[in-house]
Symmetry: C2
């Protein structure tokens, strides 16, 4: 039988991890942080390869300004960390009525000589609930100064390396495979659960991962939802089917969104599709290096508003994509009015155009993922954006 | 086209929701709370049917002691809340650089006459990150007294109603379907991604949901992991395959866990399977109404320790199951030493026996879901717990 070798299941070279660590240390120095306390799993994955959903309980990766890393987690993740990451120093806290991992963390920080220094903390993390945050604050009260560093690694992650973009392109190909499967399975009377099964199978059989949130699927009135909900139905003879989904590969996401029409097509939906197409292309054209990424939102909004669809659109039209973990594939930043971050080559954005006319029960959507390049943006999808009618 | 009717997609009767609300109000009164601020999606789903992953951003369901409910969420969830829940009063906060939903929440609470009262808060919620928790504390500082009420609804949810148990049994049947699919697909050389696709398809085609965390799958050294990790492989001629997975129906989970052997079987693994079987049956026998649920852990530990497997077992052997949302299907409480909660009829527990011998690279696991009954516990799985060798 095969024994677990440390770091045997990492997906980037040790050189790439070293470069990421160097960039992180430089940014910590710039911000005057002696230490970074990571609670975002995406940060841990990016920095070390550590791949788990163990962040559902208290878990922290510590990086000190001399480059040392210590992971504090529970026993089920000891081997997982050894297998999937380059972290060597793994400490375990034990479940029990009196467990206090925040105090265990303070003891580790004391051992590392961090008393009296300024620590950066990823407070914005699903893995650090408000209650655990309060316990952490209490444990470190008087021990060190705490600065919010939730954005530190997110800002480094937002521009992808060449190695990362290979995975992004694999993810985009898997999303297209799922789109093909969905189109094939959609027909009057088809069961939504069968469509979902074929889409997810296309990703899994292609070596991909679960998405960081559920695929969105809904027909009939459910076509006007842009979140997953339980309770699958069969399509009507005349129907609309909204799908928002991701190919995920090495946890990198590439998303697509479509509304298919089944049976008789309401002419208003055909008009709405034309408006969505214009808005998508306008937003993609506005995604240019050097411009604020909020310009993509503005272009989408201008296009839809000029078509009289202002009251049927949303306040955001997409977001960055990367190696997010559940419950959310929406990475930072979101595309909304006033989003000032400057677009740079290597950024990846999902742009979705969503038009829901609740009064008349009409839904139309269109979305795909683009890479910011030196000269503009490039769609990563091979799929057609023509209206699908079955 | 079909227009969205309020509450048209709820999965329990309005009478059942009314009874749940009455129990919640009684418990709030007992604790001296004027209001409950819910941030746990499972609480919102249980109390109102509201079904979304919109909790990835700031979102709160308010319940006042006169039974009034107000939901504060983002625009993408306005229709979702109308469609899936019985909540009528839905307020929206708007994305933007200056958005401050915690202050919007305070304004709502002032409007509801809650100033100067004691509010119960679900601080322990993935949807309420530590940073949003800090913002909430700041917004409510001096406005009201805040009590931790994270456990209030979890303690009510832990005992399932007859209607809930119908969904639990559907979930258990879907888990068995996934087990059958896995057994069929497992063979020397099989691709893990194909096995995963067949398992998830069994659940989706049966009308089920995504699990609240990824299925665990690993072979070779990966068989010793009990978390999902990216990067699927083909099974060796002689191999071990660990699977931990859930059927999910209306978001109710029923879990199973197995390690299959492929090709030549190491006799030590056959011994470990016998130990796991004894430990599982001992733990199930210890799950009796009136006894602390920690007794199941003790029985499992005693059995494995007597076989010399103490250093290869974990500090917990399962947990309650219910309508949890991503990123975690592990509901409260966990089965570990000293867990004092008394077992009651209607509770549902997943018991998993996990034995990982890292020194020799050997993995064996066995787990299934049981319902506590009037006289003891009942396995909800029709699947065999015999060792599977392919």
């Amino acid at each position: 039988m095969t024994v677990v070798t440390p770091g045997e299941h990492i997906h980037f070279s040790r050189d790439e991890f070293a470069a990421r660590r160097a960039r992180t240390l430089a940014e910590m120095q710039r911000r005057g942080l002696s230490t970074l306390l990571m609670f975002r799993q995406e940060s841990m994955y990016w920095l070390t390869g550590y791949d788990t959903f163990g962040y559902v309980y208290f878990q922290c990766l510590v990086l000190t300004d001399d480059g040392r890393m210590v992971l504090l987690t529970r026993a089920p993740d000891r081997l997982q960390a050894r297998f999937t990451s380059i972290v060597e120093d793994i400490r375990i806290w034990v479940d029990g009525p009196d467990a206090s991992p925040a105090q265990d963390l303070r003891d580790i920080l004391r051992e590392l000589g961090r008393a009296g220094t300024t620590l950066g903390v990823e407070w914005e993390a699903y893995g650090l609930t408000a209650r655990n945050g309060q316990r952490l604050s209490a444990a470190l009260d008087g021990f060190a100064t705490l600065d919010d560093a939730s954005d530190l690694i997110s800002r480094l992650r937002v521009v992808k390396s060449a190695a990362e973009l290979e995975y992004v392109r694999r993810a985009a190909a898997l999303a297209d495979d799922a789109l093909d499967a969905a189109e094939l399975a959609t027909a009057p009377g088809a069961f939504e659960g069968d469509i979902l099964a074929d889409m997810q199978s296309a990703v899994f059989t292609g070596g991909g991962d679960d998405p960081a949130n559920e695929y969105i699927i809904g027909s009939g009135p459910g076509a006007l939802m842009c979140r997953y909900f339980t309770g699958r139905r069969h399509l009507d003879a005349d129907d609309q089917l909204t799908l928002e989904f991701a190919g995920a590969y090495r946890h990198y996401h590439a998303c697509l969104m479509r509304t298919f029409l089944v049976g008789h097509a309401d002419p208003r939906l055909i008009d709405m599709h034309a408006a969505c197409t214009d808005a998508l292309l306008a937003a993609e054209a506005a995604l240019r290096p050097g411009d604020p990424v909020g310009a993509a939102f503005d272009a989408h909004a201008r296009t839809l508003d000029a078509r009289g669809l202002r009251e049927h659109r949303l306040n955001a039209c997409g977001y960055s994509l990367g190696t997010t973990y559940a419950p959310n594939w929406m990475d930072w930043p979101m595309l909304y009015a006033g989003q000032a971050l400057e677009a740079q080559p290597g950024m990846v954005f999902f742009i979705h155009i969503i038009v829901f006319d609740a009064t008349n029960g009409l839904a139309m959507t269109l979305g795909r993922t683009s890479l910011v390049t030196e000269r503009g943006s490039e769609s990563l999808s091979r799929g057609s954006i023509e209206l699908v009618q079955k």
